[in-house]
Symmetry: C2
Subunit: 380 residues, 2 copies
Amino acid sequence: MKIMARIKDIAKLANVSPSTVSNVIHGRKNKLSPELYEKVQRILEEEHYVTHRGAQMLTKQGSRLIALILAYSRAEEESIVQDPFVSSIIGAVQSALQKEGYFLLLYANPDVELCTKITLEWNVEGIILLGAKREGYYYLRSLNSVPVVTIDTIFFPEDHSYVNVGLEDYQGALEMTRYLLSKGHEKIAFLSLMDGMDVLRKDAIDNIRYQGYLQAYEEKNLAADRSLCRNLSYDGKIRQKQYREFYQEGFWGCTALFFTADIMALEMMSFCMDQGLKVPEDISIAGYDGIFAAKRARPRLCTICQDSTEKGRRAVTELLFLLKEEQDIGTCKKDIRLPVFLEEGSSVQALRERQPSPGLQLHLQKESEHRDREKFLEEV
Amino acid sequence: MKIMARIKDIAKLANVSPSTVSNVIHGRKNKLSPELYEKVQRILEEEHYVTHRGAQMLTKQGSRLIALILAYSRAEEESIVQDPFVSSIIGAVQSALQKEGYFLLLYANPDVELCTKITLEWNVEGIILLGAKREGYYYLRSLNSVPVVTIDTIFFPEDHSYVNVGLEDYQGALEMTRYLLSKGHEKIAFLSLMDGMDVLRKDAIDNIRYQGYLQAYEEKNLAADRSLCRNLSYDGKIRQKQYREFYQEGFWGCTALFFTADIMALEMMSFCMDQGLKVPEDISIAGYDGIFAAKRARPRLCTICQDSTEKGRRAVTELLFLLKEEQDIGTCKKDIRLPVFLEEGSSVQALRERQPSPGLQLHLQKESEHRDREKFLEEV
DNA sequence: TTGTAAGCGTTATCAG
DNA sequence: CTGATAACGCTTACAA
């Protein structure tokens, strides 16, 4: 390691005391004569002086460090950061923090205890917590009292003292289902992405979306068929098998598929095309998220768009607010829901214009012969 | 801030001295009796003791911090992290570092001086530098002597003392061009993505790829038309205009388009489809990168696949090697080139099977009438 | 086997 | 306006 000039060295070079140098570093012009200030300033630059953040952390200055914690249950995988949302949030957070003179410590681990430990070790001044469950959030809060802003955590009505940034998930699913129903589809499959958990788990985002889906049926005085709902695996290979099975089951007789993530919708779309089916002639497909690939796909994917960059920006804004106002986070209860909007796409077609190909019709026959969906469900 | 138990506090609780506690923390069992060790260990856990990284940085222990610096010239934009490569590299780096007990400081800024300052302030033990030019690398090295591994930096033959992780860029472009030529295409446009810079800039990746493109022609004893080469803008909106112009120019009479990034290839593909053209019947399109959207698109994009996660992993491996071996980086010159492979896709078709649609033919006529490509080029 | 003390670099307080 | 000094928390060499 190259020898670095420290305050003491600068002080010697300038024939002043360390505290004078410190005053110059902090721009306290009123504390010394302009000439001296200039001189010290010059030497500081000449010597490429940089502050030692470790030493600074030891004083009351604080660390200027913000932790971005990815606590997804699948956070141990490298791929988590590649998720388009996660990465756009990282980008937005990094950029917003830098403007305010903060630094970003990135840590991904499903173990909240470990994450908490890291935030304590590094004396971070604030935390943005991504993909955690409410229990995880409360655990973190119980040990670390710095401001925390969560993204996409589901809280319960009885919860208090949290700041969460999320989406109008309910509204989005409601609108999409309304839209599909308005196009004449009545058998709409609801397909979510969750690690083996039940879609009905109360604190899962996809459950909120499912409620929106049900609500849309209710509004039309239709009975939603609750068996038209399924969780797909996070594992891409398993998912591929699941698409095939679902296809072989004739899509359970559904005319439209509503996926809670564009990734799945696109995968299914290309799977269908590979099987010789036509989208939307044979089957209508809708997604959720509005990722790049969805806009580029042809037929263009009909989806619910969210602005995930805005999520990151907003999280930082809220965190900085807590930091600056020194507001007691214990008294806040803020559930920010960013708007989403439906983007039409030719992957969805009105039912009356539908022209199923012979291939699909064969499958539909098969399905009515088999009726062995129970077996299929068991396999999962 | 909640009051945290420090070594001194633990020492008091256990009726031992601070150094004894420190010995326990560092697992130096031989330094004290097993009973005492157990006892201190227990109290440590009870009090949720965590080390203070700032204080530790002040000792010779080092910071355990690795900086991942994104020094792309467009790094001030939030979107940089969203780039599928960048984000998969971040993911891989984060995950690999964590396993080794290092922490990740993420910093994105086109200003290398600033980046250098950050690495010095935080006393990072190593640096992974992404998207920097060689000058930037050498500037960083001149001020910070910790190990640095670059990713995707282009060095010159006369350069020395660097460790760089890159791709077989030349080979990839060579193979793709060979492939397109083997399919009978002779007029192949080469379309790169660079911020207004000349594709011929010696230290640009796309220039390396361009050399591969030229080489493929040479191998076939064909004269490559050097005017069939163009840089597109990083700005998505401008790019959209450029696609339109290029289309209106009848693709300069090319039958195949080779883009140096899948993003562009996909954008062009959907643009064509929106104009009523058929891919590959009217025009063959090839990309570079092998991103998710490319695999999902139909027709599937023919592209050169790279494993960007492996890039990140490899960068960490190399960095850890430098760190552990305490090898003098001044003596290394390592240019690691990860393999790429061509993935066929139906977006490319043999020329003889080509069936241009009337729409395209009209455009081709237009083009031969106008011959005003110079004007077009000026506009850029 | 255990304890003491110096040192790391910065900042804030207080005295000159 | 300037300078000495203590404090932050940890590590390690050395003394007991």
